[in-house]
Symmetry: C2
Subunit: 478 residues, 2 copies
């Protein structure tokens, strides 16, 4: 009986993809909808997203950004203004062609990203160097008509934030691009406990319309890479097309330099795939919708235990996100399994023996360790315990990433690692798009990034053997 | 020079509609976009919306609701399931017909409201009486292809929240419907300083698919009504069509009872139109993006004054939403006009004389009153002053509403008031849709609501003279 709930989840080691879908559905993070490729984010999953939003939004505001809202629709002519951009996005745009009974004179794209509509406004708003920088962020949903979808990781509609900034100089834009990449790294590593590699994307992998794209890459526990956040220096590509000019201090009319950057609900997918295990989700305490769940174990003293549980709930709720599971229709064991599956970091059990000794039993989701704690010490103990769980989850994930990062010195080695092991491959690269494409075609792995932390592990390109310019990471990815 | 900025705004008394658009554009709340009927909400306007969201979202959570996210798109077949509902919304739906290069097999509506897509999920999720109530809210944008638009008040796309709940009994649903109406009244009156009339909509004016619709109606300062929030008891209309059943405690399979309720960014329009004056916006302190603006007046002591201004800013920013306007390129007078136009509740001036006396000058946006306050008393004084401004703004708006609410005892009087005076007309009504329609056709006014606070001002219907059942409010509206 007590294991039944968990047994409904496929084992992670058996079928990673099925396990992923199982924990999302059974954990009530999300559900399939009647709309092809679109999911419903259920309250438990949305609460996780809200916690993530709060922590990110605070960082955006601390770095001087303000939120705004731009239209959901982009006229086709506007989307097509920047050639590389439209080429990148046109194949996956959803088109509105009718409003009410009437056919529209011009088709409207449901925004796949908002550079073009935002640039059309910036060209109106920006006149002088005094108007710069413009530092705006938007929280919204976007639509990309993907052929194959996977909850959170790839869906036709998803939630995200997109920052769009305009600057006087190229240096200012580059500084902003890197500042926001660092904001993402800090957020993803410290709040989500996901270690990442920071670096630059190759020309083949950069954002459609960007000058340079930077990325943070995380490793899922099946060894695949997941792009956890990107920050683009757009250069003057868009400002020239959308005529975004300003009168500089020297009296000259100049084009602004722009950036854009974003993270999405796919980060929820990354949390699941990095931390989860055979028992289900494992949520980092900083963003977990419920940090502590109280499960009373009635024994012969139902009334007293229930009363104590309620008083503990009242005490703890000012300090932690806490829930009291006082349902009658389930056994404690069933509840343990359910809350473990939902990834709650700490379970607090209180039974007759605990009651008699003025203590509670705490059970860690990450290690399974059980600790008896005196009621008087509970608040400081729990505070420290949640920090400890957060730190431990990050440490475990970083160890996994290190253990699954290997070096390759020639193409056979590279192919062999990608085919037979999981994880990232560090290798030297000559910088040619040809070599990069050959890796993709023959192994299925892509060049994930040119990391900021460079090591000279050899002087030859892993593919062609010619002189190497950079060390890069190759991996299969989501 | 000092009046120039303000002179760019049309006088409110001269042309109310033009004044409205002027303050929105010059106050940088919003801007027109290249998409027909869609506006851009600029950072200053969006900060106002964020403050409103926070205060509302807290109330939703305190009453047990959780946020979730449902797809932007609704398949045509789903939207058409509830007959009255589709009839109400179909004329103004934007349709997606193509994804990428392909034509879709079934058209997708861009959600005009989410009852249908949410009901399709509730029918999956709800099985037992233990699953009830389901109390979910969604913050999102919706699209209604309106012919004529006006920023905030009527746009093709707008932001809102929509609550969707499911209950065991009709009484539970009715209680929820009225609870959320009261949440709206409390929010709108106490945070936005907008007095409202609480009541029920007539059959003609109710939501498409609802059993009963309740409303709060506010009066704009041109005398027109604006529906500030609505709460619908949906009965079992949707649950029967979408087959949302549960096994009750008595072992019987029953249909759930549902509610939905929403407020939108049109509340920003209501704030502007209720409180604004010839000098521009006047924002209620509780939601104003900037509550206090510091304007230094340099005189001969620029460095000292600037230093003091900065230290005041540092002190105040932990208590209030405060901004320091230390721009060099504008005169103090120009700044005064700008911040008045942007509706900041309190201006804090600091000049050489103030500096010498350890005091500052506070200027109220609502009354224009000037008060010298010792620096040592500043924080408690400002706290009280902001409360006082909030209360005064509500009082003024309520007085305006009372002064512009008149009684009519026959059709001639009703017509005359609507034609020649502005505001609300209280009148008795026999309850017939015919009489209601006649008012609409001959005066342009609609039946705004059947107020909860009933008075028996006569015993005859104001239109047909037959026996009256209820006192109602008639008014022209947005
Ligand atoms: Zn090479
Ligand atoms: Zn009548």
């Amino acid at each position: 009986m007590e294991d039944k709930y968990v047994k409904e989840i496929t084992a992670k080691s058996e079928d990673f993809s099925q396990w992923y879908v199982d924990v999302i559905l059974k954990g009530e993070l999300a559900d399939y909808s009647p709309v092809r490729g679109c999911m419903v984010i259920r309250p438990y999953g949305y609460a996780l997203w809200e916690n993530m939003q709060k922590l990110l939004d605070r960082r955006f505001k601390e770095t001087g950004h303000k939120n705004a809202y731009f239209p959901l629709f982009i006229p086709e002519s506007l989307l097509k203004k920047e050639a590389e951009h439209v080429e990148g996005f046109a194949p996956e745009v959803a088109w509105v062609t009718h409003g009410g009974q009437e056919e529209l004179a011009e088709r409207l794209a449901v925004r796949p990203t908002s550079e073009t509509i935002i640039c059309s406004m910036y060209s109106k708003w920006i006149k002088s160097w005094r108007d710069l920088p413009v530092l705006i962020n938007q929280w919204c949903s976007v639509v990309r008509w993907e052929k194959s979808t996977k909850p959170f990781v790839r869906t036709a509609e998803f939630l995200w934030q997109e920052g769009h900034t305009a600057h006087r100089t190229e240096e200012d834009a580059e500084e902003e691009t890197l500042r926001m990449l660092e904001v993402y790294r800090d957020f993803v590593e410290n709040e989500l406990a996901l270690p990442v590699i920071k670096g630059r994307k190759s020309e083949n992998e950069k954002f459609a319309g960007a000058l340079r794209t930077y990325t943070i890459e995380a490793m899922m526990s099946d060894g695949k890479a997941l792009q956890a956040g990107t920050s683009h220096n757009l250069g003057q590509h868009f400002s020239k097309v959308f005529d975004i000019t300003f009168l500089d201090q020297d009296g000259k009319l100049k084009y602004v330099w722009q950036t854009s950057w974003g993270v999405t609900t796919r980060l929820i997918g990354a949390i699941i795939m990095t931390h989860g295990d055979d028992r289900g989700l494992k949520l980092p305490p900083r963003v977990a919708p419920i940090q502590v769940v109280i499960v009373p174990i009635f024994g012969q003293q139902k009334e007293e235990i229930l009363e104590k549980s309620r008083s503990l709930y009242q005490t703890l709720k000012d300090y932690f996100r806490v829930e009291l599971d006082d349902r009658d229709e389930y056994t404690p064991g069933w509840k343990f399994n359910e809350w473990e599956m939902k990834g709650v970091p700490v379970r607090l059990e209180i039974g007759p023996k605990d009651l008699a000794q003025n203590q509670v039993l705490l059970v860690r989701r990450d290690t399974g360790a059980k600790i008896s704690v005196k009621e008087a010490d509970l608040i400081p103990y729990l505070t420290g315990l949640l920090d400890d769980i957060q730190a431990n989850m990050f440490k475990e994930a970083r160890k996994f990433m290190e253990d699954n990062t290997r070096e390759a010195f020639n193409f056979e080695e590279l192919k062999n690692i990608i085919e037979n092991k999981k994880g990232f491959v560090k290798a030297m690269w000559c910088g040619s798009g040809e070599c990069e494409k050959r890796v993709k075609e023959e192994t299925g792995a892509t060049l994930r990034c040119i990391p900021f932390d460079q090591e000279q592990i050899s002087d030859k390109c892993v593919v062609c053997g010619k002189e190497a310019k950079k060390m890069v990471y190759f991996a299969k990815s989501y």
